[in-house]
């Protein structure tokens, strides 16, 4: 199927047990005027074909930076990746030449962004922008590229795609723009799709439609999806695994089922309890107290300790390792057992 395959990358399958995409002990830091910002501090997660991993966290937790590091679209400098690996089908992308990475981007790993209005180029028609994928990467003619673009716009269910192919991004509604963004990203059947807050800028009803579309496209093509979001509600229906990030680290790693049933980290627990629930109507809504950490001045020990109801003395001094709870589950809390049991608080 794939016409351009890289010498360095196996076209299909992985090496033994190697997952489709594996982020391993990734570190990203930014040199700013105010000092060094360690945005990502040793993040690891993996993704298999057909699987959806949700990366959950507040803004500044490092979830988007991790995604941009995978894509290789960080501005370097100011960004720097001092250590870590991003293995795609067993090959470390970070070690590839810029040229080889360009071949991976868009064709094998694609990305959609939060705000489709600013993420689409305002001066080119949507048809031009979608068909650019075919013209540049597949050497298609303008005509054929446009035909493909119409097919894709149909596929993401944009009404009257043929008539709207020559419209500009600003002439579409927010939901339709995000569909165009999606059409562009899946144009070359990527194996991995990274969706960075794909529904945050949209109305609630449209959010559901977009998530449904993404899930459907994923089922059809068996691609792996990394869904970056701060909204636990979005995650429940689509994700297989969840990685919760806080202060540049993964604090909990588990299947959706496990997390919803019994979180093993106080931060996850706080997030779950702050979701409004119909059955608890009338009760006061829980909110995690305190503020997200200042990246320039991270708390010592566990980054969450200033806000944590389970805090003990060693939380202030010792960085908790990622404890293995079961084969598929980890928590970076010294007191994960207490959290799991749900005593205290």
């Amino acid at each position: 199927m794939r016409k351009t395959s890289l010498d360095t990358l196996p076209a299909e399958g992985g090496l033994g047990n190697e997952p489709l995409l594996a982020v391993d002990n990734l570190h990203v830091e930014f040199a700013t005027r105010a000092g060094l910002v360690r945005a990502v501090n040793g993040v690891s997660y993996s993704l298999n074909p057909g699987e959806t991993v949700a990366v959950l966290g507040e803004s500044g937790s490092g979830k988007s930076v991790t995604a941009q590091a995978i894509m290789g679209i960080l501005d370097m400098p100011p960004a720097r990746i001092p250590q870590g690996e991003v293995r795609f089908r067993g090959t470390d992308l970070l070690k590839l030449s810029e040229e080889a990475r360009t071949q991976v981007r868009g064709q094998r790993i694609a990305m959609i962004f939060q705000d489709a209005l600013s993420a689409l180029n305002p001066v080119f028609t949507v048809g031009w922008q979608i068909s650019e994928m075919f013209r540049v990467h597949r050497g298609m003619s303008k005509r054929d590229g446009m035909k493909k673009a119409v097919e894709l716009m149909d596929k993401v269910r944009i009404p009257a795609a043929k008539q709207r192919i020559n419209d500009y991004p600003h002439q579409f509604s927010g939901g339709m723009r995000q569909r165009i963004m999606i059409a562009m990203s899946i144009a070359l059947d990527p194996e991995v799709l990274i969706a960075d807050e794909p529904t945050t800028a949209l109305d609630v009803t449209v959010q559901a439609q977009i998530m449904e579309l993404l899930a459907e496209l994923q089922r059809e093509s068996n691609m792996g999806m990394i869904l970056i979001t701060h909204d636990l509600g979005v995650v429940a229906d689509v994700a297989d695994k969840i990685a919760v990030m806080y202060g540049g680290r993964i604090v909990e790693n588990a299947s959706v089922h496990d997390i919803y049933k019994s979180p093993a980290h106080p931060y996850t627990k706080g997030l779950l309890e702050s979701i409004p629930r119909v059955d608890l109507k009338g009760q006061e809504l829980y909110a995690i107290k305190g503020l997200p950490p200042n990246l320039l001045d991270m708390p010592t020990g566990c980054a969450f300790h200033p806000r944590c109801p389970y805090r003990q003395d060693n939380c202030v001094t010792d960085v908790p390792p990622l404890h293995e709870i079961s084969g598929t589950r980890n928590s970076a809390c010294h007191y994960w057992r207490e959290v799991l049991d749900g005593d205290q608080r």
């Binding site: 894509m71 679209i73 810029e98 360009t102 071949q103 991976v104 981007r105 868009g106 064709q107 694609a110 990305m111 962004f113 705000d115 600013s118 993420a119 689409l120 180029n121 305002p122 001066v123 080119f124 650019e132 994928m133 540049v136 990467h137 500009y168 600003h170 963004m181 562009m184």
Partner: protein
């Protein structure tokens, strides 16, 4: 679009009237009697002078004179006659050509050099090349045309000719076609080159920060295509706007350059007109330049709509 053009043209009328009236009023106040100046030392029959004055409406109040002038232009395309009886349009036609040539050469140099330097600086942002380019734009802005004009005339016109043996850049007159305009064109364009370089750099740097550039990179496009197609196409909007509006400004600013390089353009003609108190010439030239300014701005606005699909005119 058509209706927009018409509306804009109507809006331009008060500007045109105001500017010409302002110039007319100043020229009206120019000291001395032009008719007597024309007659020179010879004592003319006062009756003849009175006839001439009457012919040129010189005895009427300012606004009446202005009315005659404007209606003449609008109804007959008549910009008046010099006191020697030559129609101003005829006198200016050739001179306007010289100034237009000069301004177009300057504009071309400006566009080519400014865009290339700005692009180069933007892509090397924060590095030595960028700093060097920015420093030279600062110099180019600071050194008055008066100075660049003479210095280049000496270096490229005289010393280079001595060093090479043949004339590469003519230093005076407009007799050698395009060649005669190269040096004066560059001098005239100097400040504009510097501004366009800075504008191109700022605009491209700002564009390259936008989300859609990140998208283009994520699409797996080469850096060359990301900058060249997606970046430049957006950065182009303010650049083209600036260039378009600059044509009128270059024509209006050509007087110093024309004086230094002895080019027989309208700047020099205006200067002579002021000295000889030839009111029709002075007002005629300024009117033409105001018209050029207004039309250039109109064209820029049209270009805007072409370059930026988000702008639509009702």
């Amino acid at each position: 679009m058509g209706r927009y053009v018409i509306r804009r043209l109507i809006q331009a009328i008060p500007v045109l009237l105001g500017a010409t009236l302002f110039i007319f009023a100043i020229v009206f106040a120019l000291p001395g009697d032009p008719v007597e100046a024309l007659a020179g030392e010879k004592r003319q029959d006062p009756a003849i002078l009175a006839v001439i004055r009457d012919q040129y409406h010189l005895n009427d109040p300012l606004l009446v004179q202005y009315w005659h002038y404007i209606t003449g232009i609008v109804l007959e395309g008549d910009f008046g006659k010099t006191f020697a009886g030559v129609p101003v349009t005829q006198l200016l036609a050739g001179k306007l050509q010289v100034t237009l040539n000069l301004a177009l050469v300057a504009l071309t140099l400006e566009a080519v050099i400014g865009v290339l330097l700005g692009l180069w600086a933007a892509l090397r942002r924060g590095r030595a090349t960028d700093t060097a380019i920015l420093a030279s734009t600062l110099l180019l802005i600071s050194i008055p045309t008066l100075v660049t004009g003479f210095v280049l005339q000496l270096w490229l016109g005289v010393w280079l000719k001595q060093a090479v043996g043949t004339e590469i850049f003519p230093i005076a007159g407009a007799t050698q076609g395009l060649k005669s305009y190269l040096l004066p064109g560059f001098v005239l364009a100097g400040t504009s080159i510097a501004y366009l370089t800075r504008l191109t750099r700022t605009s491209l740097v700002e564009t390259l920060r936008s989300d859609y550039i990140r998208t283009a990179t994520a699409k797996g496009l080469s850096r060359r295509r990301v900058v060249g197609r997606h970046g430049l196409r957006n950065a182009l909007i303010p650049m083209v706007t600036y260039l378009g509006a600059d044509l009128g400004a270059l024509m209006g600013g050509a007087v110093i350059t024309e004086t230094i390089f002895n080019l027989p353009g309208i700047g020099k003609q205006l200067y002579d007109g002021v000295y000889l108190r030839e009111q029709p010439i002075v007002v005629g030239i300024v009117t033409i330049l105001v018209l050029v300014y207004i039309l250039a701005n109109l064209v820029v606005d049209m270009l805007y709509a072409v370059l930026d699909p988000r702008i639509r005119y009702e």
